[in-house]
């Protein structure tokens, strides 16, 4: 297309300079702050961060909730995606539309809706009391359960969509063939569906996990200061304590967690491949 490579690169230069100035450099400066103490490079502030019991609790909680949300959304995602792809095209299109719909509503509105639904006088509690499962309303708000439900609802569509596109690319006869050869459903899933759709799972898993780690609004509204996550802790450090050093440490930890999750999922996928 271009006479030489230089011309193409020259055209990309303005965008590259822009990205470097407004994104890479500031992020670099912010993140490097966590490695500096009294003018020299050190990991001391990271060690200090993990010395605090509160910080450790928040770190493990974030990791735990991220992992559970990812695992549960994968289970629900496979079931939903599989039933959707086996439908005729019109019904499939409509159902995919329904899956996408929540993504078009602001996460703030969706999360506030959960406050009403999960509240003492909300739908969930009224049903529980009506069914006689409990005499008094159960407290969901400001618990890990509430944050889990909020995050799951927020990110499940991403998993379902990734899995739908993966399942659509799977050879149509693979599952019937396995069934004919005597495989039960568990074997079909583990030996046929999973290996053939692992890329969708990796993409969906990365999106859900990273999303859960970095979501702010949902843990802030449904968890509050009783269920701090890394993201809400970061915000608190900046706005309450003006402590940018801790904030940059948390930002770095979140980035490392996201990249590690992606690498781990990819590794799991390729390991299965070699077998």
């Amino acid at each position: 297309m271009f006479q030489n490579r230089m011309e193409g690169l020259a055209l990309a230069l303005p965008a590259a300079v822009f990205a470097a100035i407004v994104f890479l450099v500031p992020v670099g400066i912010l993140l490097s702050e966590g490695f500096r103490a009294e003018g020299s490079w050190t990991l001391a502030s990271y060690a200090g961060f993990f010395e605090s019991e509160l910080n450790r609790t928040v770190f493990w909680r974030t990791l735990k909730l991220g992992a559970i949300v990812t695992a549960v959304s994968a289970v629900i995602g496979y079931a939903t995606a599989y039933s959707i792809v086996t439908l005729p095209p019109t019904a499939r299109g409509r159902l995919i539309g329904l899956v996408v719909m929540p993504l078009m509503i602001s996460p703030v509105a969706r999360t506030y809706a959960w406050i009403v639904i999960l509240g003492r006088t909300g739908f969930v509690n009224e049903t529980i009391v009506w069914l006689g499962l409990s005499d008094t309303p159960i407290r969901f708000l400001f618990t890990e359960t509430a944050v889990f439900i909020g995050l799951l609802q927020l990110f499940l569509p991403l998993m379902i969509l990734s899995l739908i596109s993966a399942l659509e690319n799977m050879p149509r006869d693979a599952v019937p063939a396995a069934r004919v050869l005597g495989a039960n459903w568990l074997q079909v899933f583990v030996k046929v569906i999973l290996p053939l759709t692992k890329e969708g799972l990796v993409i969906g898993g990365t999106l859900v996990f990273t999303g859960s780690l970095t979501a702010y609004i949902t843990p802030a509204i449904l968890g509050g200061s009783k269920v701090l996550m890394l993201e809400t802790l970061l915000y608190q450090r900046v706005t309450v304590a003006n402590d940018f050093a801790s904030a940059s440490i948390i930002a770095m930890i979140l980035m490392v967690m996201s990249f590690s999750a992606n690498l781990l999922l990819k590794r799991l996928a390729t390991a299965r491949n070699k077998r």
């Binding site: 009403v116 708000l141 269920v227 701090l228």
Partner: protein, 340 residues
């Protein structure tokens, strides 16, 4: 092409010239709340009076204080409003200068506690608020700060986070109720920690409490009087507690930055804001309770404010120096005992 470029440059220069038409400019830094009311009641009339331009910067206390500190040697902001303890912190950092109160004609009209709350005239109080417990009178009775932890309120009460402006004063009063109001707040934080599983949330924004109350998630919470308006309109039997240990609260002050480039204008503005007329209008709009003792408002308005000499005298406020010197310790005590 080049001509066009040149022309647009000239146009730009002309535009920026227009922005500087008012040769006097005052830069102020204020809280982000009720800015529409402030513009109508304070900013616009003041601009008309001084023939100057008012530049208003808003933000939360932490951001604004950080900005003031960063520009300490070449301040762009002339005057700012903040809490008494933030004002003391600014004074200690050498960001502010002592206010020459003889240049404020309305100074003598202020309630005594507003005259020099920070010390050395490093701030002049312009509003204050009571902090007590808002509760559902049809469900519970509150006669003491310790009543927050009664059986009926288990799982039905919210408490301010220690990081909020309501947090430390509320803890201070809990301390008084359990007979240990030492400045380290250890006993009070311990009491809250003991009950932490029964406290729905440790709120960080007053709007959040209003929502929980509206949804009947909670039946009581310590709040600032400035937020009361929303509660009285909820349609419940809401009451404002007058606990036997008393009510607490906080005060906001005006400060003058050291090396302010428009000192005269800043004095003129502060005096304007403290005047009986402006303080009355702000009170009537339920924006700020008056610090000017000459302000008179109807009973209906007073009901929603922290108003009247008696109320003002009875407030048990934490000294700004106590807040500033203990804040870090409170936070780590809180994080150790309650933080989760």
């Amino acid at each position: 092409m080049f001509k066009k470029f040149l022309a647009s440059g000239v146009a730009l220069a002309a535009l920026s010239g227009a922005a500087h038409a008012a040769d006097k400019t005052l830069v102020i830094s204020v809280y982000g709340f009720a800015q529409d009311e402030f513009k109508e009641i304070v900013y616009d009339p003041f601009e008309a009076q001084c023939g100057c331009e008012l530049v208003v910067e808003t933000g939360n206390s932490v951001e604004r204080l950080a900005k003031l500190e960063a520009r300490k040697d070449d301040p762009e902001i002339d005057m700012a409003v903040m809490s008494t303890h933030d004002a003391l912190s600014a004074a200690r950092k050498g960001i502010t200068q002592s206010i020459d109160v003889t240049r404020l004609s309305n100074y003598d009209k202020l309630y005594d506690i507003a005259k020099d709350p920070v010390g050395d005239h490093m701030g002049v109080g312009y509003t204050f608020y009571a902090t007590s417990i808002a509760y559902r009178a049809d469900e519970v009775e509150i006669e003491s700060w310790a009543d927050l932890f009664q059986d009926k309120l288990k799982g039905r009460v919210a408490f301010p986070n220690v990081s909020t402006n309501q947090g430390p004063p509320a803890l201070y009063m809990v301390g008084k109720a359990i007979g240990d109001d030492a400045a380290d707040l250890k006993a009070a934080i311990g009491e809250v920690a003991k009950n932490k599983d029964d406290i729905v949330t440790f709120y960080e924004r007053s709007s959040q409490v209003a929502q929980l109350m509206q949804q009947e998630e909670i039946l009581a919470a310590p709040i600032g009087r400035f937020a009361w308006g929303a509660y009285s309109k909820m349609g419940f039997d809401m009451a404002w507690a007058t606990p036997k240990e008393g009510q607490t609260g906080g005060m906001n002050v005006m400060i003058l930055t050291k090396g302010a480039k428009n000192e005269d204008l800043a004095y003129e503005f502060m005096d304007f804001w403290l005047s009986t007329e402006i303080q009355t209008k702000l009170a009537e709009a339920l924006v700020d309770s008056p610090a000017n003792a000459d302000v008179e408002v109807s009973d209906e308005i007073a009901e929603n404010l922290t108003y009247g000499a008696e109320t003002v005298e009875s407030l048990k406020l934490l000294e700004p120096a106590v807040i500033l010197d203990n804040r870090e310790a409170w936070l780590s005590e809180w994080n150790a005992q309650i933080g989760q």
